[in-house]
Symmetry: C2
Subunit: 235 residues, 2 copies
């Protein structure tokens, strides 16, 4: 692992003390994630961990999703941000319960923070049961990939303005996810983004990755996304 972060850095020299501290912290995270998964299941929910860079459209995707599904599915959101309550406010405006976790500086959510969020959600929400609980991770394509939060599905997102060369440059988010969403596809005419390149690079990293493309603005591809979410309920 990296000296100071939890990322994998195979070629760094380090003291055995550093390795011990990091390993025990990651082991504690795995144990807490397992407990979270059980917790989600007791609430009847499938948990989805959304990972992307800042500005890829995670909150916008959730706003549109809740608006479309709020009469069919009970959805809640655990919002992760370094600072500000803004994203939770946006989600609540769509009629879904949302709790905001601010990490106070950290670059990712960990299982302990999500566990706190879960209790807060139970405390604040009218419903005890949920169909889907989204966890919107801190905007960062790197560090969140190292931390299991107890989710059932991990979804990595790249928006068209970011460029189709990103999977190879940020591989871990792709090797650890089950789904890859390409967002803001309405912008394809204005950017040098190749859907084929993005798909090919992502599948090279993870053959089992399911890939979807959508635009929350035009609605293109959105029905497939909703069908996938509906299918989770009966799983």
């Amino acid at each position: 692992m990296c000296d100071v972060c939890g990322c994998q850095v195979p070629d760094k020299e380090k003291t055995s003390q550093t390795v011990d501290v990091h390993e025990s912290l990651l082991a504690a995270n795995i144990a807490q994630a397992k407990e979270n998964r059980h917790h989600f299941e007791q609430m009847g929910a499938i948990a989805i961990n959304l990972i992307s860079s800042p500005g890829s459209g995670k909150t916008t995707l959730l706003e549109h999703t809740i608006r479309k599904l709020r009469d069919e599915l009970i959805i809640a959101v655990i919002e992760g941000d370094i600072e500000t309550e803004r994203d939770a406010v946006r989600i609540r405006a769509q009629g879904a319960p949302a709790v905001q976790i601010t990490t106070g500086g950290a670059c990712h959510l960990d299982a302990r923070l999500v566990h706190k969020g879960l209790h807060q959600l139970q405390h604040e929400s009218e419903s005890e049961k949920f169909d889907i609980i989204f966890i919107e991770n801190v905007g960062n394509l790197v560090c969140p990939a190292t931390f299991d939060l107890g989710e059932h599905e991990r979804i990595v997102m790249i928006s068209v303005p970011e460029g189709s060369d990103k999977p190879a440059k940020y591989p871990k988010a792709f090797t650890t996810s089950q789904k890859f969403l390409i967002t803001k596809t309405d912008l394809l005419p204005y950017f040098d983004f190749s859907i084929d390149e993005a798909k090919e690079e992502a599948l090279k990293l993870n053959q089992g990755l399911k890939i979807m493309e959508l635009s929350a603005t035009t609605g293109n591809g959105f029905e497939d996304w909703l069908t996938y979410l509906r299918s989770l309920k009966s799983r």
Copy 2:
């Protein structure tokens, strides 16, 4: 600091052992950064550390900058990526020396990696003296802000597609930078991005921040950017 990353997390419980390890690692980074700064100065160079999310246009900015200034200034680039040599290849195609550092998983460059890059640059380049050495950090708006690389100027970039609400959500990159570049301004008609909001939020975090707006595609604002870079030579 965060349990596993180096970020500031004031409210976390931690063992004194964790704190000791992290503090000694950050202290080692500060010492190496000081050495790097001296090293840059011996090479006659001003070093600029570019920090942004993936896809904000760091490499594109550097390509256009080198094309415009290559007859006036001696520019080199230290490219940081988790994986791939692609960015260094793009820079070399513009006629500037570039070394690629791949972190092998880590979410940021540290002073030790940059020091290695400096020696590689001296080894591979024809010139011994440089006017400006750009360090293109790993695409990540969070972790790179914690690590001094020995740069003289730190520049944080946000591109228009990312949204003007980002400074408040990712404050440390703004509090530790001297300059804030708003990029891809040719896309303003297509996005709900307020230049005023971005500026106001950034200045709230850091009163001394100098702010510039530009589009590498249309060239708007680019002359001010080049004037600033030229001014560094005589500093």
